[in-house]
Amino acid sequence: MTKRARSGWLPRAISWLRNVTHREQDEREIAAEVSAHLALLIEEKVRAGMKPEEAERAARVELGGIEQVKEQVRDARAGAWLDTLVRDCRFALRMARKNPGFTGVVVLTLALGIAANTTVLSWISATLLNPIPGVAHTSDLVTVARGDRSDHPTPPFSYPDLRDLSERTQTFSGLLGYHDDYMSLTGVAKPERLYGALTTANYFDLLGVHLILGRAFLPEEGTPSAGAAVIVIGYAVWQNHFAGDAQIVGKTIQINRHPYTVVGVAPRDFTGCAPGLRTELWIPLPMDRDVWGADRPAYRGTYWLNVMGKLRPGVTTNQAEAELNLLMQGIVERFPEYHQDSPNEISLDPLWRSPFGINGYLYKVLPMLLGLAGVLLLLACANVAGLLLVRSVGRRREIAIRLGMGASRRQIIRQFLIESLLLGLLGGGGAIAITVWTSRSLAAFFPPSNLPLTNDAHIDQRVLFVTIGVSILAAILFGILPALRSSGLPVQAVLKEEASSVSLTLHKGRLLSGLVVAQISLSLVLLVCAGLFTRSLQKAQQADPGFEASHLLLASYELSPAGYTRATSAAFDRQVLDRLSALPGVESVTLADFSPLSFSIHTDYLQIEGYVPQPHESMEISRAIVGPNYFRTLRTSVISGREFTAADTVDSQLVAVVNQAFVDRYWPDEDAIGKQVTDGRDRYTIVGIARNAKYRLLTYPSEPVIYLPIYQAYRSTQDTTIHLRTTGDPLTMASSVEETIHQLNPELPLFNVNPLSVTMQLGTLFGRVAATFAGSFGLLAMLLAAVGIYGVVAYSTRQRAREIGIRMALGAEQRGIYRLVLGQGFRLTLAGLVVGTALAVAFTRLLKAQLFGVSATDAITFASVGLLLAVVALVACHIPARRATRVDPMVALRHE
C-alpha cells in the first residue's frame, strides 16, 4: 500500500477522475476487452484442434463468466469503494421508496426519539453549556458564594469585603462584583423599566466582553469616592431607544431621572452574567446613591454583591476556594462585628451551576430529562430493530440469492447498515425539523413574572453535530442485529423453502420477543417517571400555600426612580389604597414589597430578643414589608395578636408580625407577642403571629418570615406591588386599576399587572417542565411499545396461519385460538412489566430529590402505570388475536 502511495498517487487520481467522468466509455472498453479476450481464447482452442462449439464452451469455462470478470475489473478500478457506496445508497433509497409505509413509520419513530434528545440538548446547550451568552470562554470563571449553598442565595458580599479579597488573592486574576435589579430608563420617548447592574470597574474586562462601541469602565470610575455618572448600554436598548445611533458614545441619557454619559455599547449577545436573566444597563458601583438612593458600597455590613472570579491559569477550584476561605477568615477576625450574624464559608461553583440566575435550578432538571430522553431513544431503537427484523424475514430470499451469487457476508452487512444509516439520517433530519419548534418550548413555560427571564434555546452547531452523531449511533444500534441475523442465512435451506411458508427460526423469534420485552420495560420506566413527576406536581399545586391565590390581581409600581421621597411615597401609597378600595368589585386591597411564589421576597439579618445564635448560624431571615390589611386580603389568618392597620405609621410604635415557623424556631414554648426584633437599624415589637405561608417554592418547608408595616419600614430600593382581592375575575379589574394609578400620577408606569394565580406559576416552573416532558416521553413510549407488541404478535400470527388453520380443522374452538394468540402477547407483556419494574425502581431513585410529597417507589404510581401498560398491550394483542380466530382453515391450508 505504501509503495503505491509513494509512486502512483497522481496517476491514480487522474485515473479516478477519468473513471468518474468517462463511466460509459470505460464500460464499453471493459466489455470490448473481455469479449476480444474470449475470441482469442476460442481461436487458440480451435487452432489446437477443437471443434468451434466445443472450443467456445471450453473458452467460456476458462474465462469463468464474462460478467464476473467485468465486475472484478470494476472492483480493481480506482475509487471502486465509492462506486459500491453509491450503489448501496441507491439501493437503500430504492428500498425506502418501495416501502413508503414502513419507511415512514421508522423515520417518524426515530425522529421523535431523537427529537426528544435534541430538544433537551438544545436547552442544555443554551443554558448549562452557554451560561453567559457573548462570553466564549467561561471555563476559568467561577461564582463566589458565601454561606449555605441554598436554592435561593442572597447576594453574599459587601463592597469592602470584596475589595479586600480582590487585593489579596493570588489564585484569581480578578474578582468582579455586581448588583442587579430594575432601573428605569427615563427622558426618552417611551420610558422603560429595565434590568440593570451596578458593577465593579473590571466587569467587562474580566469577562472578556469587547464592547462594540466605546469603552468599558475605567478603574478610577469604580472607586467608592468616584462620582462618574457613566453607563454602558445593551445592544437592544441602543437599537430600540436610540435607533442604533453610531454617535451614541458621549451622549447623555437618564436613568431613574439622573443623567449618565454613555461610554459604551455591549455586543448583541451579551446580557449580563446571571444565567437566564437579561441585564441591559451597566453602571459603576459608586452610583448606587443616584440609582437606588442608597450608599451601599460604603458599608462592610451590607451584603449586596454577587461575586464572580477568573482563576489564574493552572489554579484549581479547590485551591482557590481554600485561599478565599483563609482570606475571609482574616477579614472576619478584623471585623467581627459585621460578620458574626452570618456564615462566612465560601464556596465556588462553575457557571453551569451558577447559583445566580436560572442555572442553579436547571442543572438539576435538565440532565434528568436528558436521561429520560435517552431511554426513549433506546426504546425507539428497539422498536425499529423489531420492525427491521420482521422485514428482513420477508427479504430472506433476496438475501439468499445474493449470497448464492457470491456476495460476501460483509457486503450484505454493509448493505443492511447503509439502509439503517439512511433511515437513521432521515430520522435525524426529521428530529431537527421538530426541534426547531420544540427548542423554543422551554421559554413557553416561563409565566409573566417580575424576573427578566430570558431563554434563547435554538439549534446551534453543537446540537446539529450531536444530532447527526446520535442518528448514526442509533442506526448502528438498531441496524446491527438485523444485519448480523440476516447475513448468516443457510442459503440452500432458504432457497428451497417456499416463500409463503418461511417462518421465524426459533432464534429470531426469541430475539424479536426480547425486543418487545425491552420496549415494554423501557416504556414502563418512562411512564413511572412521568407518573411520579405528575403526582409530585399535583401534590405541589394542591399543597396549601397558606394564602388564597384566586381572585387576586397584582400590579407593581416603583416610586423612588419617579422622584418620590419617603414622605411622598407614604402619601402616595395611602391614596392608592383609598382609591382602589373604593372601586366596585374590590373586596379588599393591600400593598407589599414582594409577591408570593415569584422569587421576589427579600431577606434581612435580624437580632432576635432572647435568642442566641449557634456559631455561624445564618440569621438571614425572609422579610416582607406589607401594607395594612395584608393578612385579610391574602386570607392568611392571624393566629394571635393583630395585623397591621393604617395607624401603624412612623409616628407610632414600630411593630412586626411573625409567622408560626418563626415562633417555633426562635421562641418555642414562649409567648412571642411583645418580644422584640432588631434589623440593624430599628427595633420592632411583635404584635401578631400569622399562619405559615409559602413564598418561595411550594415544595419547600415553611420557613420563618417577619412582616414589617409599609409605613414604618421604608426601603428606597423597593418596588411596591398592589394585591387586590376582587369579587369577580381579577383580570377584568386591570384597566380600572391602571386608570386609578394614572389619575394619581400619569407618568408612573404600572408593570406586571397579572393575577396571582398566573405569576405563581413560576414557583412550579421546573415541576411543570419535568412533568410535561416526562409525561409526553411516557405517552410516546407507551404508543411505541403498543405498536411494537402489536407488530410482533400480528406478524407471528400471520406466520402461524397454517398452524392455526390445522388446529381449527382439527376442531379447536375460536376461543382457544384467541387465547393462544393473546397468551403469547400476555407473556411478553408480563416479562416486560417485571423487567421494567426492576429498572424503574433503580432509575427513580435518582429522581428522589426532585419529587415532592411522593416517594420514588410510590406504590400507586407503579401499580397504575403497570396496569395501564398491561391493558394497552393486551388491546394491541387483541386485534391480531381476533383476526386469528377468523382464519378460514381451507384458505390457510390451500395457501400452502
Binding site: 509512486s7 491514480r12 476480444a36 479476450h37 482469442l40 481464447l41 470478470v69 480493481a76
Partner: protein
C-alpha cells in the same frame, strides 16, 4: 480467500506481468500464456485475476494499453511497460530477491 493471500499473490502477479512485458508489448492472453510457459505451469493465470491486475497497474501508471491486431488479424488490446513501470520492475525485483534470499537462507538454516 483471506486478505494476506490476495496481497501476496497480487504482488507476485504484478512482478510476473511486469517482467513479461519487459520483452515487448503483449495482449492479455499472451501475457497469461507466457507466464504459464515460463513458470512451467506453476502459475496458471485466471482471467479474473489478470484483468483486474492489468487495470490496476494501468492506473498506477506502470503500463499503457492500445488496441491492435493479433497475429490472426483479431482485435486485441496490447499492453506495454512505461518508464515508471520499468522502475517499478527494478524495485519489485530487488525486493523479491531480498525476500527469496531471506526465505531460502531460513530454509537452509533449519
Amino acid at each position: 480467500m483471506t486478505q494476506e493471500q490476495t496481497n501476496l499473490l497480487q504482488g507476485t502477479l504484478d512482478l510476473l506481468i511486469l517482467r513479461t512485458l519487459r520483452l515487448g508489448e503483449m495482449h492479455g492472453l499472451g501475457i497469461a500464456r507466457r507466464i504459464e510457459q515460463i513458470t512451467q505451469g506453476t502459475f496458471s493465470v485466471k482471467t479474473g485475476s489478470l484483468f483486474p491486475a492489468l487495470r490496476r497497474m494501468q492506473e498506477e501508471g506502470w503500463i499503457k494499453s492500445a488496441w491492435g491486431e493479433s497475429e490472426a488479424n483479431r482485435k486485441a488490446k496490447y499492453y506495454r511497460l512505461t518508464k515508471a513501470g520499468r522502475k517499478q520492475l527494478e524495485t519489485e525485483t530487488a525486493k523479491w530477491e531480498r525476500v527469496a534470499l531471506g526465505i531460502s537462507r531460513t530454509l537452509e538454516a533449519s
